[in-house]
Symmetry: C2
Subunit: 708 residues, 2 copies
Amino acid sequence: MRSPRGVILLAALVAVGRPVAGPPELSAQVAGEQELSGVEIVQEAGLGKMWTFDRLPLDYLEERYDFRPDPEWFDHVRLASLRTGGCSASFVSPSGLVMTNHHCARGCITAVSADTHDYMVEGYYAGSRGAEAHCPNMYLDQLLEIEDVTERIDAAAPAGISGEEETRLKGEAMDRLEEECSEESGLRCQVVSLYHGGIYSLYKYRRYDDVRLVFAPEGQAAFFGGDPDNFTYPRHDLDVTFLRAYENDEPLRPDHYFTWSEAGAAEGEPVFVTGNPGSTGRLLTVSQLEYLRDASYPLRIQQYHERVAVMGELIDEDPSREPDYRNMIFGLENAIKAVSGYLRGLVDPTLMEEKHEWEATLRAAVREDRRLRERYGGAWQEIARINEKLTRLHEELVYSSFAHFQTLSRARDIVRLASELAKPEGERSMSERTIEAAKRRIASDREIDREYERMLLELRLTAAREALGPDHVLVRAALAGDDPEAAAARIIGDTRVGDPEWRQALLEGGVAAVNATDDPAVVLAGTVDAWVRGLEEKVTELRAEEGANEERVAEATFAVYGTMLPPDATFTLRLSDGLVARYPLNGTFAPYKTTIYGLFDRAESFDHKDPWKVAPKWTAAKDELDMSTPLNFVSTADIIGGNSGSPVINRDAEIVGLVFDGNMEMLPNRFLYRDEVARCVSVHSMAIIEALRTVYGAGALADELQGR
Amino acid sequence: MRSPRGVILLAALVAVGRPVAGPPELSAQVAGEQELSGVEIVQEAGLGKMWTFDRLPLDYLEERYDFRPDPEWFDHVRLASLRTGGCSASFVSPSGLVMTNHHCARGCITAVSADTHDYMVEGYYAGSRGAEAHCPNMYLDQLLEIEDVTERIDAAAPAGISGEEETRLKGEAMDRLEEECSEESGLRCQVVSLYHGGIYSLYKYRRYDDVRLVFAPEGQAAFFGGDPDNFTYPRHDLDVTFLRAYENDEPLRPDHYFTWSEAGAAEGEPVFVTGNPGSTGRLLTVSQLEYLRDASYPLRIQQYHERVAVMGELIDEDPSREPDYRNMIFGLENAIKAVSGYLRGLVDPTLMEEKHEWEATLRAAVREDRRLRERYGGAWQEIARINEKLTRLHEELVYSSFAHFQTLSRARDIVRLASELAKPEGERSMSERTIEAAKRRIASDREIDREYERMLLELRLTAAREALGPDHVLVRAALAGDDPEAAAARIIGDTRVGDPEWRQALLEGGVAAVNATDDPAVVLAGTVDAWVRGLEEKVTELRAEEGANEERVAEATFAVYGTMLPPDATFTLRLSDGLVARYPLNGTFAPYKTTIYGLFDRAESFDHKDPWKVAPKWTAAKDELDMSTPLNFVSTADIIGGNSGSPVINRDAEIVGLVFDGNMEMLPNRFLYRDEVARCVSVHSMAIIEALRTVYGAGALADELQGR
């Protein structure tokens, strides 16, 4: 294994090839009137604590926790950490045992289920190495190296070009670098744009793709409380799954893995989370936040509600269809909860005021320095101008996207593909990959839920007519003189695009056939296509310009504050720190942990009604269980989606828990990190051991974790 | 026992001697554009559900719950219900057993404790009739009759007199009526002003004053979670105490008592609460609410905080004094929580908007009818004018009250009493009773906490100087050229009013001695007394005028809505109705009940730190307890302070619970009743039985309750 130590910069706060105005002392003075300590700056800035492993905040950690880990500690933690599709994970035994969330391993658990066994319902325990079932399409990435490549990426785009050109050239440079790196090293290489393009880093991963299922609890135990309890705390979920990485059909022997803490974390104890937070918007400018607040989120929430409403009506009409829609409704309700939580942050005047202040302070600092002013002074206004345009275009873009309509999307595929295929290969605007994907969709025999699409289209057309006006090109083309109900019935009712053979035949007939058909969905797609393409191009251009200006804002931020503050989340490995801590909730306190007593209490409190049913194995083991065992606990570690499955470790790098959620109060942290009431929710290490030994008869697995 | 049936009017919605514009149909039309049902009117009006037993909403109950109790049901419920000092209670066995809250019986539990036993800590179980300990100063009042006396009271005050005169004359008429009634019937008689003087009712009580202690749990079990969990839910308190009424040294055999439900109430089941809600302000006008919002509550909360801050500082200086202040701090923190909850309602724009709408609708209805307009049209403006004045006078009144200062209050007693006693008896402005009370206070040897008063006075003088300005008569007299710190040290430090003998001597010296003394507290009290008296008289006059106009508003309300809506709470017996129901809390649901599992969970979750300690007897009984037993539960019954100790009964008038609190979300219900998230919190009947049998070895008491 290659040592990454020469590449990873362990000294924090080093500005790497960026114009930096001064040492941290200066930053401290800019951040406020009086001099602030590093901890205070981190707290004030609200940019959170998702530290990259090449810029670790050693002084901050020492000041905050009296804890200054050595390079070996960080290397060990990084190499024991893993990334998997959309989630985080970690090595937890010398024999390649891997811990992640149950909800991160659903694909595998479902895949290894058979007609006779639904392991999502029953739970799974292999019991012996030989019985560990292979997870198809599952992999684990281990971060070996980080290399700063900002200069190389920046060099690819000369000054004075358009934003769109800059995006394209840098994108090409990133692709090149990744390819070179992969060829040279045999590793998975990814160029990561940090601080919205302020820094580019090359991340090199070793991939393990022989992953097998070792243990999973029942869905009821992993997701007790279901959708209502999701994003909330106090909580009672054993959201854990154990996998094992194999190499050459033998269990992997990783050089680095986390050992198990005997007692877990006490209240007030510092803990660390190592994982891959997906996306935050803490460095967004005020105008970008306003776009999300005023345009993007409200319409998203509205459309979630529309879909839930349609499915609810379909279930009312025919209750036997409830199982078809159930998971989708749960998913949508969860999305509503999440996006409403983000929006709650943005409509909170305090949050926006703090954002305004932060931006005003930064812009004032830029204005005061002639060099900075010339380079970056105009960036915020540019972004504001772009976001005003994006806000104006937003409804048109959303209503013309045909999202959630298989019929209209297939019709659009046919229209666009016919037109593209008619051009010579060199003149096509769609890439080969895009063309192939569209062909596959046209050929797919996936069934279309016509009744659902008809009802949803009626709602959408009603909303579009209201939002865009009756004379808008899209509205006129869709309604064609009808009211939304009749138009939806006509378009979805009469179209033949639901039939894959008909689609293939139409496409084979080329542009002439497409132009000649009177199929209402194809006619609609064709009528608006030129306009939609124009709109899409305009938005792409604006987004590229926005990106170039975001990069200027990022550079200005470095110039003023250095790189002591962490970048927004990028689904790459970060270390976060926090304390195990209760918090004020609804007039009293939410305790720092829950116990197994609480699981049974909540189930009884709802008379065991769904989704508050205790899994049967737990009920059976009731008398043997130590009810006082901690089940879940909360900390102020800074996490977001993508951190699911992250290990929570103590100072000795021992596992004390497993991140699986944040509380409701954490959702606004997407834009401004605050820790008065926002909490990271984790499974407690002791609950895992107690459940394995007492509920699941998986003592051997518990022994492996505890090194016995 | 006299039957009250002839007096109590069981037909609801009957206007009694008031000018009523029309039948309920009219009311329904006024309340909204479309016709509303009785249930909808009750819900819309936001006046809640605290029904008096002489105007029971039979149609509403039938429509809402398909339940129309007969007169016997209501008589039975009324006669099994009891009132005690500040609380409610009920008969729960044929042998005079009485159930109330632990926190309502603290005085008795403390009184029967001895040097060797602190029953507040240990809990108490008499075990046999002979051992039941007498509660000094405790009584139970049973409501035998209600008689409408509105005409008689109104007749006492001729038209055209001042508000102050009207208040005085009506007060005298009420006193006369009460005296007459008591003499005639031998009962406790009280004239109750309902709807802020819209209706006067004569309430006749039978008093039981031989009350003995049967059972009380440990304070830890009754008040688990202490101050933090107070006003919140989910909750885990066994806040119950059993007493027994005796007559002629024998257990009372009441004709009416509640029997015990076997299983308690299920989710969704209708329940009824019979008890004595203390005070609500739902009929207050918008300007009265604004006075509370802008003047009264903010200053009250500020002064609570000042007192907590001073006690905190004193404990910091000398931690051994913590026990002296602990209960006071808890009490103040609770008051802060409560008043902040009320204030939260008043600063909520939705609540105020609804209040505005309600008032605008009512005033419009009054304006449209010439007769109503002439009689009542000006009342709201009058009240607004008065409340503007009260708002302006509020700070002066509060700062001049010397509340929380024993020193200054005793000094004022001396100044006033000396001056009064100098007048001939017929010309005194203080009543004989007031004079006697002042004499007792002057003679009292209650110790004064000087350090506390000095520190508090420094804070008060600082705040008063800020609020009233440095040239205000009170501020000038108190500071006398010093800063607040020096002034407080001088006034509290140098005064001799802490010495009862010195006080007596000064009073005996009469006006001359009082005028001659240079005692700084007496000098301050004397200097400002004329001004303070003037201020108090002005406020008394304004309050009387306000009362007269409130009565006009009440009469106007009847004229428009009839008496179908319940009056504000008056600490007299009411019946309230509701459903046992979960509610949305923090992104998920609060369950309708908690269980004993939850008690142990919450204790473990805080590592058994105070105030989340399980009482030792419960820990000892852990393995024998049925953990799934419901412990507390919530319902939408309409309650407020004074309802503590109220029984919760089902349709069969069986006990299913015992009211002991409301959740935080209920606090704004003081002004506008809403039931989306507001809940009444009760001890579950099954928890009482399980605890008596399994924890306390009080099977005989459980048998008595369950009629075994």
